[in-house]
Symmetry: D2
Subunit: 345 residues, 4 copies
């Protein structure tokens, strides 16, 4: 079976997925939709697909799956519509910036029995996957403490920051998902502190640019996250897991790994300076995993639930900074009719 | 001038200092005192010094300085006595496990104008010193975030744990001091979480074996600390400082640095498995610094104040775990008659 | 302009080039030829090109360039034929195993003014390219000594060995080219020693599996090469250049770069185990460079001359082992009508 | 038993040994002799020993062993005298610059049954010792190829060069010994090339400053050595051994191992810049090994024979450069009455 794709949104991340779909022998890019006509036609030309409206794609019988790369505030609506249309859905994170809206959306997905995968691309990085595999093989015993350092080369424009939901929902959300991925157990409490050290304009926009987070699970496992919107040395993405029998860590990645030695010392080049070059292979593996799920009609992973939980952790972090205390995740999610929503995997 | 030493306590750490004093051309080990006669005589034979009682050393005109390596509960009394006797004092940390007792002790030291240095040996590690120097030279710009990972090869006996004051006062206290050393600014709030993952007996003794801490300064700088009482791969001691223009980090140290490659991969040996071999050079530099301070009659550093602040941070961490909230350091130290006590350096 | 390609040979390396051509927006794969029909049709199906005979490709007006991936003993003839047909030619190394045959072939290429590039893929590895760039920028001053360690994961089948021309012409030839690439000066003398340590069957086939080489240039620069047909830890490919002001080195590459720590030490995974995964990016950059040369009608590099010189160095090494002395390269190449043949670049 | 030492020569290396002897609980430094009175008295004061003439030490019944740190041209005579006087002898390398003189000297040593150890300090470096141990444990299978890179931070004064015996006898001699130490088999042939790239004055003095060497054993094992009298990045000392089941390597050593990251990349400090700081621990272990040999009346290792063989390899290298061919070591050593002289260990 060839999975036939419609692509919603032809922007930066849309192009990444178009390339991955086209290169995948099990998939075909049939159509692209974008409110901005030029973006759609450029992408259509480059990857040899046609152009349709979102409504047309909804009704296209020659399309099995969609990739949602539109602005965040459209995600939940589109997921609901395409769930009802019987299409498999890959949606860039986040589903929405509001936990209640996400919960409502996931109810529709569940009701329709739709396939929904959320784009936490880092789970598909070969290095982080190899860490997870080493853990699964028992190489480090029981997981005890996860340490994540995650720093962007530079802060995004303040206009972006204003619409982003804030550092915890925009940036740390990836680290929340990574912490869960490595911990293998749901997080119970979140403690966070945050400040403005990089750019006062970010503070004026009501956000932070530097943040630390501590997470704890019911069984007493720990995770710490250290975030900054600035790193002169490149895109700093390190994960380390300490366990009862050992530890495993993924080093930073750089485009070239030479070393120059002279009287000043031994120098290696800076890291990747852009998430797309850092995570090139991860994006390809991510779409490949989605295609396999669609083809085999199995559950997609990370799921809508994973998206909801990561958002709830971000909400808890925001509250922790404001109130100066550890926040229980259940304070954010409230009483759930169906407890299984948080059962994780 | 040769600084003439009396050594109080001929145990494990006493021997380390005896060796460092003997090897230092500016110092002479005159006398050792130990309640356990055999310990004193063994050390006296090995390093060619005589044996006296603590009282005799107090009254010895041929002794300029003492090194206090006796049990913790004697430290504060001895500091007060030797301050009054006009001797320069090097005291192993902590001064006492009780903040109020430490404050009282330091008042005596101040009143007598005594020289008091507290044994935070890690500040004298060549690698951490080189980090501090790189920061002072402006190589990383303004310090923003300190990340400390500190793990012991194995937990001490539960008997020791019971007398230790708990993980924060016994183990993390070194990391609190290191955080201050690198931050260059006093810490305002402490958030901590802790659990028992290594040995249930530690929990039964009322302590934790795994802990995470977040620290914040008034200007918004961050530090995170990750502690475990177990690391199968050796004595894990890493410090990293992220700043506005870059970052600096100290790698772990191992006794030998070979690498064996075969079909299983590339393997380097485990780390040092003992703090004394890891910090051999630090102990020598520490005593050398104290000798220089005595010789030049200048202030010793880290001071009694540094000892007090590190203990207050530990107390705040204990309280944060219990109350699930960020603790202001001022909640622990209370109103101070002399605010300068916390002015740091 | 789109460069339209005919591919000669649909084997392992043919597929690599087919993929690179197809992915390159400036190129189009028009046709494939292979004596083995199934190989041709599989490749044609996968990459959407047609199938023609070599003779048909020679006469195809819709083909601008060919990539020669056929057996070695056909290379020289094909180069001559396609030179005369006015096609640009990319040929896998070596042009031939016989120096005189190569010289004759290159005379035809010169006479026809044909574009010929020889497949020394390692020059296009991003890491080795970054080394060359660092040298060109003067970061290490004048190049003085090149050190190459190059080891295969395992020996090829003895049948392959018998046809290969021997370790120096088959394996070391890449290192000879790399030495020239880094030295930036022609090699004057070659000293070599070789033995059979890996597999006696290789010795019975008249070849060696372990070799060391020393190279010297007229100005006294050095290169050393260490080769083995076996490396349990993967495909070992290291190059280091020492100069008057410093040194530059390229580390080995591995598919994933995690590190697992436990009581046995710190272990990173083995290296790539196959030259095609190790040099994936190099192959893509190589074809891209050829396409640019064809498009801009500029000289291709590495040229036929580079292929000839590398082969002459291999011949010199063979002779050095046999005669136990340093061989002048001019002893191999003999008197050349046109000395510029060896002027290098 | 305490081994009582006389030290011959109070220069730079004499001081290193004086310190190591004094720090060793099994040894006592009794006396020092030096033609330069001030040097002797300074050392005597610092380490608390007396001053005697060489003749007095020869006749001193309270001296068991001597350490010879005098100029090279006195070594052989002193070894013979002290052998006859029944003292155990540690002699800095080389025994003499002339192979025949060394052979004559060793005959006296053998005849007297004297204990003679030659100062190849690198064998006692903890990292190289750990490599040897890994090999002995079978971690890399059979040794096949040894790769040594050895570069000095800077060239010594030309006056020193003139008396040194040339780069092969002065500098490479350490690498020859290291190659034998790692190969575990005697070397049969030596091929070398050398040039002047660092300083023309070295060439005018009849020596080289840049050299490459290939060594082969009877069973076909290889070693390569790359030497330069200049390395802007410090004292470059790397050894790597490739075997049938894997490889083992020792990394370079630096005084501090921090890493600074910024927009220019990741920089670690230069290496040690002096052999004495690089090999501090090796010197201590070397003397300790000698003391143990004296105490237990067992053979010292590396022996006079090891000194002779290393010198013969240097002579072979000199000849190889001049004659442009591989030299058999037997060409240098000639017919030996007692073949066992070269049996190695």
């Amino acid at each position: 079976m060839t999975v036939r794709f419609g692509l919603l949104g032809a922007g930066r991340i849309g192009k990444v997925h178009a390339k991955a779909i086209t290169a995948n022998p099990k998939a075909q890019l049939v159509s692209v939709a974008d409110a901005f006509e030029k973006a759609a036609s450029d992408l259509a030309t480059q990857y040899g697909c046609d152009i349709r409206s979102v409504e047309q794609i909804l009704q296209s019988s020659d399309i099995d799956a969609v990739v949602i790369c539109t602005p965040t505030d459209t995600h939940a609506d589109l997921i609901e519509q395409f769930s009802k249309a019987g299409k498999a859905i890959f949606c860039e994170k986040p589903i929405d910036l509001d936990v209640e809206r996400v919960k409502a959306c996931l109810k529709v997905v569940d009701a329709e029995g739709a396939t929904l995968m959320v784009g936490f691309n880092r789970r598909f990085d070969p290095h982080f996957q190899a860490m997870r595999k080493a853990i699964d093989e028992g190489q480090i015993g029981d997981v005890e403490m996860v340490t994540i350092v995650s720093r962007d080369p530079g802060a995004p424009p303040v206009d972006y920051i204003k619409r982003s939901g804030g550092i915890f929902r925009d940036m740390t959300i990836h680290d929340f998902d990574m912490a869960r991925f490595m911990l293998g157990e749901e997080i119970e409490t979140v403690s966070a502190q945050a400040s403005v050290l990089v750019d006062p304009a970010i503070g004026e926009a009501g956000d932070y640019d530097s943040a630390s987070v501590m997470l704890a699970t019911a069984s007493g496992k720990h995770a710490t996250i250290s975030n900054s919107r600035r790193a002169t040395y490149g895109y700093d993405q390190r994960v380390e897991v300490h366990g009862s029998k050992g530890a495993v860590a993924a080093e930073n990645q750089r485009p070239v790994s030479i070393e120059v030695a002279n009287a000043q010392g031994y120098t290696r080049p800076p890291l990747h300076d852009f998430f797309m070059t850092r995570y090139t292979e991860a994006y390809a593996r991510e779409i490949s995993t989605f295609i396999d799920a669609v083809e085999t009609k199995s559950a997609a992973n990370p799921s809508g639930l994973d998206g909801l939980i990561a958002l709830a952790l971000a909400d808890a972090a925001v509250r922790s900074v404001k109130e100066g205390r550890a926040i229980k995740v259940s304070e954010v999610t409230g009483a759930l009719a169906d407890k299984s929503v948080f059962q994780g995997r």
